[in-house]
Symmetry: C2
Subunit: 204 residues, 2 copies
DNA sequence: CCTTGCTTCGACCGACCGGTCGGGCGAAAG
DNA sequence: CTTTCGCCCGACCGGTCGGTCGAAGCAAGG
């Protein structure tokens, strides 16, 4: 039950919590590189500098690590999307900011997103169901934002709304494959470029 | 060395070739569902209705099956892209047809593309290098097509050419995640919708 | 000093992996 | 009939998997 300050003035975190976070970071690195199915818990343990039994002192199963990845990504995605919609000055700016932020987050957490995009089928049905539901909720937020802008401007899209939204999300998500952190454009700037392509059809 | 007609009047194919194709189809189904690393050769054998030793009578290694998937996809992608560029009536039509075809092929071979998109890191460097080079060549064909259209019309894009091309390919490739074969739009029609979003910025 | 409780790990478990081996099968050739 | 040969598989190989067990190390409290 002992708690201890982290030394950086941040919120309290027990020793066990710190280790758990280090393990999760290691798991993200290993899972994204080797793939969840092919990665072993030995790999993860070695990455943190622990033995496998010690790793299992902090983590219940390999599956728990994968679930934690999805939780983190979905929490942050949904939170920021709702914040953007609530705070945007115009409906058009909401759509634009949603795309920019999606690209930024994806590019700056490529390991995390790589796992989310690749390992959907690695979770058993019972665990996948709530995760899928939250992802659908995220997509609904984006969809509603586009629809609100359409309604406000009286325009109509030359294709189904769902097709447009999925095209936008696809273009944004796919940056996890090609974004170059050493390139000339930052993640945020790249997001603005991508949004520029996708918003063209909204402005006519 | 015995050969036999396939009975359907098509090109000759030995019994062994037929079996090899059935095995490859099974491998595609299994690898795309479970992931290459997590899928076992027992799974593949069971899917074809053979025992594992019999499977190995036709296939050298598990890795060979994965390589065959990449070969098939890259062969077809490059071939059709070059054909489209060579036969398009205008540069704009070339770009449009490239996107439409990319979406169509992706949606109609989702299992194949799922493997290509997810298992890039499952190949050892020596095998991945030539595959990566051919993928880059495919991207170069698309890039050149866009550049030709830009040059012809005298327009300039508000973002780097590479960013635009990757955005287009991302939107097209991502359809492997959300295309619904039972939906109201065929793969080809969906491609036309997606191209409609992406070409907006080219037409101003 | 001893106890307590958290952290760590060497050694191990049964299961399953990719891949192999030696032999059994049936049909065609002699 | 026997031989041959492509096709097929039960049983097995060394190795690794996710996960467990029992014990050692060690700081804090008494």
């Amino acid at each position: 039950m002992a708690t201890r300050g982290t030394g950086a003035g941040s919120a309290i975190g027990s020793r066990a919590d710190e280790q758990r976070q280090r393990i999760l970071d290691a798991a993200v690195a290993v899972f994204s590189r080797r793939g969840y199915g092919a990665a072993s818990m030995n790999d993860v343990a070695a990455q943190v500098g622990l033995s496998k039994p010690t790793l299992y002192h902090y983590v219940r199963t390999k599956q728990d690590l994968l679930v934690a990845v999805y939780e983190e990504v979905l929490d942050e995605s949904l939170r920021s999307a709702r914040e953007i919609v609530a705070g945007a000055p115009t409906t058009r700016e909401a759509v634009r900011a949603l795309i920019v932020e999606r690209v930024r987050y994806t590019c700056e957490h490529r390991d995390l997103l790589t796992i989310c995009f690749h390992e959907e089928s690695a979770l058993p049905e019972e665990l996948a169901a709530p995760i899928l539901e939250r992802r659908r909720e995220f997509e609904r937020v984006v969809r509603d934002a586009v629809e609100a802008h359409l309604h406000e401007t009286g325009r109509t899209l030359p294709m189904a709304l769902g097709v447009y939204v999925n095209t936008c999300l696809g273009a944004a998500n796919w940056t996890y494959k090609w974004f170059d952190p050493a390139g000339p454009r930052s993640a945020r700037e790249l997001g603005e470029d991508v949004a520029g392509v996708l918003l063209g059809i909204l402005d006519g």
